[in-house]
Amino acid sequence: MDVKKVIMATPSPQPVKIELELEVNGFHRQLTVAPAARLVDLLREDLELTGTKFSCEVGRCGTCAVHMDNKLVNSCLVMAYQANGTSICTIEGLAERSLDPIQSAFLEEGGFQCGYCTPGMIMAVKALLNYHANPTEEQIKEGLSGNLCRCTGYGGIIRAVQRAIKNLNENEIEGAVGWKK
């Protein structure tokens, strides 16, 4: 997507608004918003993508994690003008015809209890596995260090990540075999 950054707001006694253009889960979106509005609010309220949660609102808990231009960010710490012209992927954008292998792994391994942290957790795992196909346990813990879960004690989450790695590697092998045939 080629969208120019267009903000040059003029100070005004009234809240200023900007025309925001971005891509969300593959769809082009246009919004008229305050330039410092938070991405998490735009996603949840303007676009009704409530899979992205919010809790601490200061970038500590990771429940609001999304991908911006393929990089993990806390959407509570992204202002509208910073998201202008970017491509956003939320938890709703992961699954295509079927669940993403990471989502399946969380289901299979019980990687959640109340589930509130799960969307952010899964987005963090996705970002991790995009960079490290076979991360060590230390790399998994580092990759999830910005995501808090108050229910599971993390055991199920770590197992889910390891299961996701296995699933993805098996899919890759099956894909390669299928291609050879």
């Binding site: 950054k5 903000i7 040059m8 707001a9 003029t10 100070p11 005004s12 809240p15 200023v16 900007i18 305050a34 330039p35 410092a36 509005a37 938070r38 609010d41 309220e45 609102e57 200061v58 970038g59 500590r60 990771g62 994690a65 911006m68 990089k71 993990l72 960010v73 806390n74 509570c76 710490l77 992204v78 202002m79 003008y81 910073q82 963090a124 970002a127 991790l128 813990k141 580092e142 990759g143 260090s145 910005g146 995501n147």
Partner: protein
Amino acid sequence: MIRQGTVMIDSPAIWMPENLADAWQLKHRFGPDAQYIAGGTLMQTHWQKGIECPANLISLERIKEMQGIIKSPIHGQAVTRIGALTSLDVCRQHSEIAVSAPLLTEAAGSIAAPAVRNKATIGGNIANRFGDSIPALLAMDASLALFDGKEILLTLLSDYIRMESSIKNLILVYVLVPETDGVNNGQYFYKKLGHREAFSPSILTVAGYCRTSEQNEILEIRLAASGSTSPPQRFIHTEQVLNGCILSHELLTKAIQTIKDEMNVNTDPFSSAGYKKAAAANLIVSGIVGKAG
């Protein structure tokens, strides 16, 4: 003011200058009603805590001089020039930095968590005056390039941290890190002490550089510390005490006391000044022993 939750009140105006001079002009025009912003990860947490968001935010993200990482010799010395807009994650993962300034790689990896590091910048980490990269950069004897409205000035980071608040009007353009010389027995160390293993504000962060002779004489030494509630500082007096001395148990015992005496640190709700002084002294001395002993 920006508040938690769903309602945005009095959103600030966002200015996006294309060059340093325009950014400077905007700050000059609005004075205390404006603030420079890059990643903004720390500033937003301040607003959420109730610190008022200024009416104008001057985003620096379009300014080309503040971007990129290049190697460039200065006065005959190999230096890595890191644009102030470089994200902490890039600092952590960049192959050039890993070779030329591995202590910065280590320090950047210890700051916050991946999602924050993708947005937070090295410039912001330094300009906020409490960032965990500062001790590492002090140990590496880094310099800063600051734009004063007319020209870019070079200053040592160790001088910058002692400057008064008027420095806030200067724009941090890039960081100059002398290339680590791995062949002269010089060794670096970095240690962060937090409330938990990862993604924790620093109680204390220490870093140092120590170069010794084969006879364990200290030929060159730089020691630094900071914390999320403690201003960064170089231990200049301690360095003077240690320089030229042979490493010994007695010398390190003396160094512990000197560091405690020299350290400027406050008590905060979680840790006393005495605790921080003792921890800093022990971490630094163990760093010297581990790397140079």
